[in-house]
Symmetry: none
Subunit: 431 residues, 2 copies
Amino acid sequence: MPLAMSSSVKHAVIVAVGTELLTPHKIDTNSLFLTERLNNIGVEVIQKLVSTDEPEALARALEYAIANSELVLVTGGLGPTDDDRTRDVTADILRLPLVPDASLLGLIEERFASRGLAMPKANRRQAEVPRGAVVIDNPRGTAPGLLLTDDKSKTKIILLPGPPRELKPMFESVIMRGLIGDAGGAHVYRRVVRTTGQTESHVDELAQPLYRVWSTRVPTISTTVLASLGQIDLHLTLVGADRVVSNAALDVAVDELKVKLGSLIYSADGETLPEVVGALLVGNNLTVGVAESCTGGLIASRLTDVPGSSAYFQGGLTTYSNDTKVSVLGIEEELLRQHGAVSEPVAKAMATKTRLLLDSDYALGVTGIAGPGGGAPDKPVGTVCLALAGPDEFLKVRRLSLPGERERVKFQASQNALDLLRRALIRPARP
Amino acid sequence: MPLAMSSSVKHAVIVAVGTELLTPHKIDTNSLFLTERLNNIGVEVIQKLVSTDEPEALARALEYAIANSELVLVTGGLGPTDDDRTRDVTADILRLPLVPDASLLGLIEERFASRGLAMPKANRRQAEVPRGAVVIDNPRGTAPGLLLTDDKSKTKIILLPGPPRELKPMFESVIMRGLIGDAGGAHVYRRVVRTTGQTESHVDELAQPLYRVWSTRVPTISTTVLASLGQIDLHLTLVGADRVVSNAALDVAVDELKVKLGSLIYSADGETLPEVVGALLVGNNLTVGVAESCTGGLIASRLTDVPGSSAYFQGGLTTYSNDTKVSVLGIEEELLRQHGAVSEPVAKAMATKTRLLLDSDYALGVTGIAGPGGGAPDKPVGTVCLALAGPDEFLKVRRLSLPGERERVKFQASQNALDLLRRALIRPARP
C-alpha cells in the first residue's frame, strides 16, 4: 500500500505554527496530545518547535525539523486567512506546486451550504493541495490535513489544523490508517488512576512503596504523579509487545494501588468525577438536586456536562443572594441572621429544602466565600460549608478552608461536594 | 561597559532543555514568563524550541537557535547530575574550554555549609564556566546562570536554570543589569479586541482593509486573528519607543476597528464577556436572573466567576427536567405539551417567570438540546431557544442551531445568551 509508512519510524519532531503561540499568554498544548498518541505506537518526540507564521522563519523551522527527523508533525496555519501560510510554505520548501482539488472544494462548499451559508472566497485556498499530497479529511472543520514526503530525506510531513477539536480526530485517523506505522508491535500502555481529597505528598507517600516494586518487576511499570486543582492523578506506564500481558500487569498494579489508597481513588479508567457520580446514581436508580451559593451553578453545570444526566439530575437552584435563599428555598430569615449565610446550619437547610422542593433522592447545599471580597476574621475567603441530604434522614455536613482565588475556590468546593455525594453512594447509609 | 549588549536586540529564540518536556504530561511554561519580560523591553520571541538533554540533539538545537537570532535564552540542564548537559554542550559548540571558577566554587560550598552539609562532588561541575562567560548569581540554588557570546555570529546566549523559582529572579537581574540592552527604550504594546456572534472569516473580511493600512503606517501595527469557541479575538501589536505615541496609535486602530465591526466587539481591553455584562449591569444599577435547561447552570457559573457579581446576579434556576420547569418556574404543562420543552414559547415563559420569581430587572431563559441524545428531525441536537425578559415588557427571543458536541453546544448557548443580554444593555429598549 503506497500510503503506509515503514514501521521503523521511531522519532518525530512537532512544529506548532502561530504567532500567538509566541506571546506571553498562549502555549502550544496540541503537542501533549500528539506526544501521547505517538508514544502509544512506540514513536518518541525528540524535539518541539514553535514558529511564527512569517513565511521565512516558518520555512527555516520546517527545514530544520525535516533535516532532524523521519517524521514531522506541523500544527496550525491551515485556516483561510492571509496569515495562514503553513500549506504554501511547506509546498514551497518541498518544491511542490499547489493544485486545486475539486472534490475537496466540493466538501468545503457543502460544509458551508449545510449551515445555509455561501462559501467565502478566502476558503478556496483550503482546497489547494501540494501535488502528490495525501488529503486527510476534517470532519469538524474546513481545513483538511495533508501528508507529504520530502523526496530527498524521505521524511514524512503531516500538516494538521490548530484547533484541538479538529486536530484530535484527524490524528486518530492518521494512526488508524497506519500512515505512521506500528513500531514493530511495541505499544505504550497506560492507566490513569484518579484521586481526590488528599494532598500530592500524602498520595505519593501512600503509593511510594509500590513504585519500587513496579520498577523492578518485568514488565516494568513507571509512574508519574500529576497534581491539578482538587485532584491527584497517578499515571502508570508500561511499554510492551503483548497486549494481554501488558494489560494484565497494569490491572494488577491498579489493584495494588486500590489496596493502598482505598476510597481516595474515584476512577481507574479515566472517568471524570461527575461521570463517576452519574454512573453511581444511574446504577442505584437515584436522583440528585443542588442548591448553590458560592459555586454559582458550577456543580449543576459539571453534572450536566455528562451525556444522559437528565436521567438523574433533577435541577439546581443558584441562590446567590440572601433574598433568593429565603424566597426560592424558603430558608428562615432567622437562621440566616443567627448563623450567617455561610454556616453549617444554612448549608443543611439548603440541602434539606432543595431535596423536598426538587423531589430528589439526594440534594447538595453549598454556601461559602469565594472571594476576593466578603471575608471576615472568623470566616475568611475560602470558607465553604457543604451539606448532603438523602433518604432516611441521611445528612452529612462539612466545613472547608479552601486556598486560592475565586475560580479555584469555586472549583474545589464543587469537587468536594461531588466527592461527598460519591462517598455516600458507595457506602449507602443504612438506618 | 563591556557587559552591556547593543541596544539593537530585537529578536530572541528560547530553547527549553529537558527530556521530561517531551512527554505527554509536561510542558515548558518558563517561556511564557521570559516572553513577557522580553516583550516589556521591546524584544520579540520569534521561535521556541524544546530539546532533550541528549548532547547531539541539544547541540543541533542550540546551533539552529544561534544561527537564527541575536539572542538565545536556554533554560534547564544546569544541575549537578549526569543528564545536565547544557553547560558543556554550549561550551563545546562555541569552542570554549571549561575553566573552574574559584569564587563560584566558594559560593556553592558556602550554600551547602550554611545548611550544615558538605558539598557533594557532583556539584563541582556547576563551578566550571566556559572561558569568558559572565556569571549570573543564583540566590535560590546552586546552578549559576551564564552569559556567552558566539564569536562568529555575535549572538548572545544566556543559560538559565530550569526551576521557575530560580529562573525568575535571575532573569530579572539579567534585565536590571542591562545585559540584554533596553532596545533603545522600545517596548511591545498590545490590544486584544474581542468579538462574538460571527465566524472567523466574516470578522476577518470586515477587518481586512485595516490590516493593510496599519502595516504601512508608522508605527506599524501587526494583527493576529484568534478563533476560539464562540469568540473571535484580534490581537494588535506594535513595537514602539514612546509609550504615549504607541498607546495613541493603538487607540486609533481600535477605534477604526470599532467602526468596521460595531457591536460585534464586546471588549477592547481583555475583559471577558461575563465581565463586560457585569460592568454594564452595575453601571446601570440593574440585576439579572437566569433559568437554564440545556446550559445546566453554566450561565450562572460564568456570571459568578466575576468578583462582585453578587451586586447584580440575583440567582439561577437550573430546571433541567420538565417537572422542575412546572414545579419551580410555574410553566404551564399545556405550554410544554403544545410546543415541546425546546421552543420559543417555553424559553419566553422561562425568562418571564424567572424575572418575577427572582425579582430581577432582566432574566434569561435558555432551553435546548445539548446532545448527544434527544434530537429529533425538526429539532436536531444543537437546537437552542433563548429569551431575554426585561423592564417595560421588553422581550427578545432567538432560535439557534449550534454545531458540535455537548460541552460546545452548552458553551456557545451561554455565549449567545450573555451576548443577547449585552446587546440589550448597550441599546436599552425605550417604550
